[in-house]
């Protein structure tokens, strides 16, 4: 099985932790940036000076990486588009506060993670209200549609879908760590930097997520 994340945005000299943007070093050609291409830092400086086109270039470079995280955290394309747009607009508004003590990618991913978690929280609040409305019967309808029984999942013989559902059932904070680590190939240190927490916290979230996933997958196998 080919993992699509491994095919994306690999730069010369960059290790397979790709798929998340261009020049992670932020210091340009000297650190492996393609010849003739502006480094992230150059673009950031130009964007800070008010050059919107430079920021547009950064959007081009990082939209796939941001989309990779965001789209796995929401269910619909519209939500993903809105969220990614919000992430870049927030980044543009705060571009003046970006300093060179971190990579631009780390800084941008921190914005992406925070924006996503906030949006999910808000969506969950709103959906709780509507789903609890007994008049509409929306809750049971959504449950029936989105949560097929384990036996059905395996009958479809789609292990991937089962994993996906298991991942979607995780709490948001564990899910985003799983998505970034196993599907976007971020290291635990990078995730810790983006989430502004310790590496131990990332390990701990992965541990609990994997335990739940294992229980879920075993239950699926037994239900088959």
């Amino acid at each position: 099985m080919t993992n699509p994340k491994q095919e994306t945005n690999l730069l010369p000299g960059e290790q397979p932790a790709a798929g998340r943007g261009a020049d992670d070093t932020g210091v340009g050609k000297a650190n492996g940036c393609e010849p003739g291409r502006d480094s992230d830092l150059d673009l950031v400086l130009r964007a800070q000076a008010g050059e919107a086109a430079a920021f547009g270039e950064l959007v081009d470079r990082y939209q796939k990486a941001v989309y990779g995280i965001v789209s796995r955290m929401v269910h619909t394309r519209e939500d993903a588009d809105d969220l990614v747009q919000d992430v870049f607009v927030s980044a543009y508004q705060a571009i003046g506060s970006f300093r060179r003590d971190a990579k631009f990618s780390t800084w941008l991913h921190a914005i992406a993670v925070n924006t996503t978690l906030k949006r999910l929280k808000k969506m969950k609040r709103q959906s709780t209200v509507s789903m609890d409305d007994p008049a509409t019967g929306l809750a049971s309808m959504i449950r029936a549609e989105n949560n097929p029984s384990p036996a059905e999942s395996l009958r479809e013989n789609e292990q991937n879908k089962a994993v996906r559902r298991a991942v979607e059932s995780l709490p948001d904070k564990q899910r985003i760590v799983v998505v970034m680590h196993y599907f976007e190939q971020y290291s635990c240190e990078e995730i810790a930097a983006a989430l502004k927490c310790s590496v131990g916290t990332v390990w701990s979230r992965l541990h609990y997520a994997c335990k739940k996933l294992h229980a879920e997958l075993r239950w699926l196998e037994q239900g088959c």
Binding site: V59, Y92, S97
Partner: protein, 419 residues
């Protein structure tokens, strides 16, 4: 290593990303611990399933960039303060200065007021004669209205100046400033503070009303008046005042003691104080602020008043400092107790009594204060008060040696009148 501590390393161990320094220890534990080995197996399966899963991300919309660019064209960039434009920086600085000025002008009067001693009755101001010799080393100067004589005060000292220098042989007034304090507002010269001790009200001393009791509490000075007190004391206005004491004791007894004191004082001033050099002719009239009308209401004072101010010792300075503190914190038990100790050491029994009386007012259920009050009353030769205070102390539950002492003194005092 306990399982709970170890298990957080299972994920990096399963992924093969554990730091080498931990790898060996974790491996040893997994080999020895069955439950951890089982958990590691479960986690490894989950990790493998995740790694093998095809969970593709959605593709970004082709117009994402144009949508982002359209939106950012409508929103302003939030610039941090260090990147703000020069105009913004200057505006912020100007706003800060304006705020500082407003707050400063609003708060400064409150600040200066808090540094000043509260106004008291009998504030005395001297209008010296022209050409009056000044004490060597002192800078001559008068306030613009010529009501206050000024002299430099050494920073960090508690000084008492002899205002009588302005009109030698006529009268005296104390002047002081608390150590390290700024000159009070209205001081005519920078660095100069010359404030006359309110307690030294020669007019009241002269007519014997009640100013006499203030003499011992005049900070750091002792004042001797030439005239004998007369008539009965007036009603008390200050709880540390003798009149307050007199209201609790016999007025006649108190009057007698005060008369003796000022007789003695007059003798001392006549016998030992040399006539200070000064201009010939009648002394310049002194004016005293009306206690009711305040500083601005100046009234003449009788010429027969005599006073002298002696510079205090360090102990007196301590007393002065405590008395100033008491003005600021009139209900402070700490200050009162410290002052009580100082008065006791100085043998100022009446002041001692006044202070301990205040303490019993503040804490009327404290048997120790009542015992101290009884002892002070005895020292101040107020046997009736002492008896009453000893009784009260015993009622409130004195213990051990204090109780024995109180009973013994009570018995002795009750036997005295019979003898």
């Amino acid at each position: 290593m306990r399982c709970a501590k170890f298990r957080k390393y299972l994920i990096p161990y399963a992924e093969g990303s554990l730091p080498p320094q931990l790898l060996e220890r974790v491996e040893r534990h997994v080999t020895a611990c069955g439950s951890c080995a089982q958990e590691l197996s479960s986690l490894s399966q989950a990790v493998e399933a995740l790694r093998q899963a095809d969970y593709p991300a959605m593709e970004p919309a082709p117009d994402l960039r144009s949508r982002v660019m359209a939106q950012i064209a409508r929103v302003p960039v939030r610039r941090p303060w260090w990147q703000a434009s020069r105009l913004q920086t200057y505006s912020a600085a100007a706003a800060g200065l304006l705020l500082f000025a407003i707050v400063g002008t609003t708060m400064w009067p409150l600040f200066t007021r808090s540094r000043q001693a509260p106004p008291r009755h009998g504030v005395e101001q001297v209008a010296p004669a022209e050409g009056t010799p000044v004490q060597p080393g002192l800078k001559e100067g008068f306030s613009p209205d010529r009501k206050v004589r000024t002299a430099p005060v050494e920073p960090g000292t508690l000084s008492v100046e002899k205002a009588a220098k302005a009109a030698p042989g006529e009268r005296a007034a104390g002047a002081y400033r608390e150590a390290g304090t700024a000159p009070k507002s209205g001081s005519p010269e920078t660095g100069v503070a010359f404030h006359f001790e309110p307690g030294i009200d020669a007019a009241k001393i002269a007519d014997g009303s009640r100013g006499e009791k203030k003499l011992p509490s005049a900070p750091g000075v002792e004042l001797y008046a030439g005239g004998k007190p007369k008539a009965a004391p007036a009603a008390p206005t200050d709880s540390l005042d003798a009149a307050g004491l007199a209201s609790k004791t016999s007025a006649a007894e108190h009057q007698r003691k005060m008369a003796q004191k000022y007789d003695h004082a007059t003798e001392r001033i006549e016998d030992s104080t040399p006539e200070p050099p000064g201009p010939a002719g009648p002394p310049a009239p002194r004016q005293v602020a009306d206690p009711v009308g305040g500083i601005g209401n100046i009234a003449p004072v009788r010429e027969r008043e005599e006073a002298d101010v002696r510079f205090g010792t360090s102990a007196q300075h301590d007393v002065l400092a405590l008395e100033l503190k008491l003005k600021e914190f009139p209900t402070s038990v700490t200050v009162l107790r410290a002052l009580l100790t100082k008065y006791t050491e100085a043998g100022r029994s009446e002041d001692e009594y006044a202070v301990v009386e205040r303490l019993t007012e503040l804490d009327p259920e404290n048997a120790g204060y009542w015992l101290a009050r009884a002892q002070a009353a005895e020292r101040a030769e107020m046997p009736a008060t002492a008896r009453a205070c000893y009784r009260r102390a015993v009622e409130l539950g004195l213990k051990d040696a204090d109780l024995e002492h109180a009973k013994a003194r009570l018995k002795a005092l009750e036997e005295k009148p019979k003898k």
